[in-house]
């Protein structure tokens, strides 16, 4: 989807024509920004409290004999104890789902999904971006707010978010949502998937943060005010 940039101007007097100081594009609608930041907090709490819950039984095998997979440090967990972790997880679960539904509904009904949804037409744009990021090739010209690789990453992140809820319900409610647990290969696999999806999301967050740092202040501010100064297009 094309976002049109506007000129930011200054008029020194009524006779002089306005001087163009910079260009700016309104890239992120309000609901998208709001959901982005609520979700940032919710995701942080869900991962932290999820790891607290994992600490109670850090294994994917039998209870007897118990073989722990890893000892996750308490300092990197939220809730302090299993009951506390569950309180955070069960509270923010609804904030996380609510935000996700609001975001998806907004994207679909406003048509703004075209900004972020990776489609077949974006396919040819992926390799040039990979070459740019990883092999120092020149940056392909950008005609819209997100490049092909960005769209791919964001679309994948949305899919992971949906999967995190689906796998979570399969672990939490394997009877009421027996069809979900079945799709994941049973209750045990659902628990493994839920864990794996969390790590995949954290990997996305890491990559996302690296990119945010690399792309500087104006890009970061755009997720706060919606406006990106001096866009490439």
């Amino acid at each position: 989807m094309n976002t049109t940039a506007v000129d930011i101007t200054q008029r020194n007097s009524n006779e002089d024509p306005p001087i163009v100081l910079a260009r700016a594009a309104y890239e992120h609608p309000y609901i998208v920004r709001l959901c982005h930041w609520i979700n940032t907090i919710a995701l942080f709490v869900m991962a932290g409290s999820g790891l607290q819950i994992f600490r109670a039984f850090p294994s994917f095998r039998a209870k007897i004999p118990q073989k722990d997979l890893l000892h996750w440090p308490q300092q990197f967990a939220i809730g302090g104890w299993l009951g506390g972790g569950l309180q955070w997880h069960m509270t923010f679960l609804w904030i996380y789902i609510g935000t996700g539904l609001l975001y998806l509904a907004y994207q679909v009904f406003s048509g703004n999904y075209r900004q972020v949804l990776f489609t077949r037409r974006d396919l040819p744009g992926v390799w040039p971006m990979v070459k740019h990021y990883f092999f120092f090739a020149a940056k392909p010209p950008l005609r819209e707010s997100y490049n092909a690789l960005q769209k791919l990453a964001y679309t994948a992140a949305i899919m992971l978010a949906i999967l995190s809820v689906a796998t979570g319900f399969a672990v939490w409610k394997p009877i009421q949502f027996s069809w979900l647990a079945w799709m994941m290969g049973g209750f045990h696999y659902a628990r493994i998937w839920h864990f794996a999806v969390m790590w995949a999301m954290l990997l996305f967050v890491f990559g996302h943060l690296v990119m945010v740092i690399l792309h500087g202040w104006s890009n970061f501010v755009s997720m706060l005010t919606g406006w990106k100064k001096d866009p490439e297009y």
Binding site: L21, L34, V45, F57, A62, G83, M90, T91, W94, Q176
Partner: protein
């Protein structure tokens, strides 16, 4: 767009995000506990909506059952609260037509159900056990329980206590369990009588039952619930 107008617009768009600060309430010490309690309460309420009264838990082949010696024991203080079986009875009170003491023999006159179902612990592990007993719904009919009452509460010989919703109590797989692996319950597994509900998490499967009450009011929820765990916790 004029520079001034652009600045104004940017500031307004930024200020529109201030509702986010409300989430900061979760880090205010006095408020945090209350909010999380509310959150868990809301989650429990949603859980009750998600519960399907006639949807059955999966049952398993005998070959899939976890051997009894690999069935973990979780007791909150003692493995054996020293119940004297000869003197034991289940004391029934509350909104029932036939209150009083019920012996194990009386409970065993009800149709016996044997089922291989999954037992899931809140910690994350699970086992498949073979459980036998009377349907709680049959027992509730025997004692003439008020079907419109909201809760069932139980007390245990080891001071453990639990409560559950009527919908789960009436579920066809909810048992007053007196058998595991086709043998009478052993002491450490809750002899002579325990709850066995495949649609509930492990800590709700109270052992060594001594009292059962049908009620509309919960003075207390359960041993773990009153320490901050979920009350409904259905699977």
């Amino acid at each position: 767009m004029d520079k001034k107008k652009f600045r104004q617009n940017s500031r307004r768009e930024l200020l529109k995000l201030t509702p986010l600060l409300a989430l900061g309430a979760f880090v205010i010490p006095g408020l945090q506990e209350k909010l999380l309690k509310r959150g868990l309460h809301f989650s429990d309420w949603m859980e009750a909506r998600l519960f399907r009264p006639y949807h059955l838990a999966a049952t398993f082949d005998d070959s899939e059952v976890t051997p009894l010696n690999k069935f973990p024991l979780n007791t909150y203080d003692v493995d054996d609260p020293g119940v004297i079986f000869e003197n034991w009875s289940l004391t029934v009170t509350g909104a029932v037509q036939n209150p009083g003491d019920y012996t194990l023999a009386q409970i065993q006159t009800l149709p016996r159900v044997r089922q291989n179902t999954r037992h899931v612990c809140v910690e994350g592990w699970d086992v498949i056990g073979r459980f036998g007993g009377a349907r709680l719904s049959d027992f509730l009919r025997l004692i003439g329980a008020d079907p419109t009452a909201r809760f069932i509460t139980v007390n245990c010989a080891d001071d453990y206590y639990e409560s559950l919703d009527m919908a789960t109590a009436m579920h066809p797989q909810t048992l007053l369990c007196y058998e595991m692996y086709d043998r009478p319950l052993t002491r450490e597994h809750g002899a002579p009588l325990r709850l066995q509900m495949p649609t509930k998490i492990g800590y709700k499967q109270a052992k060594y039952l001594t009292d059962l009450k049908v009620t509309n009011v919960l003075d207390r929820e359960g041993y773990w619930e009153d320490q901050g765990y979920s009350w409904f916790y259905g699977l």
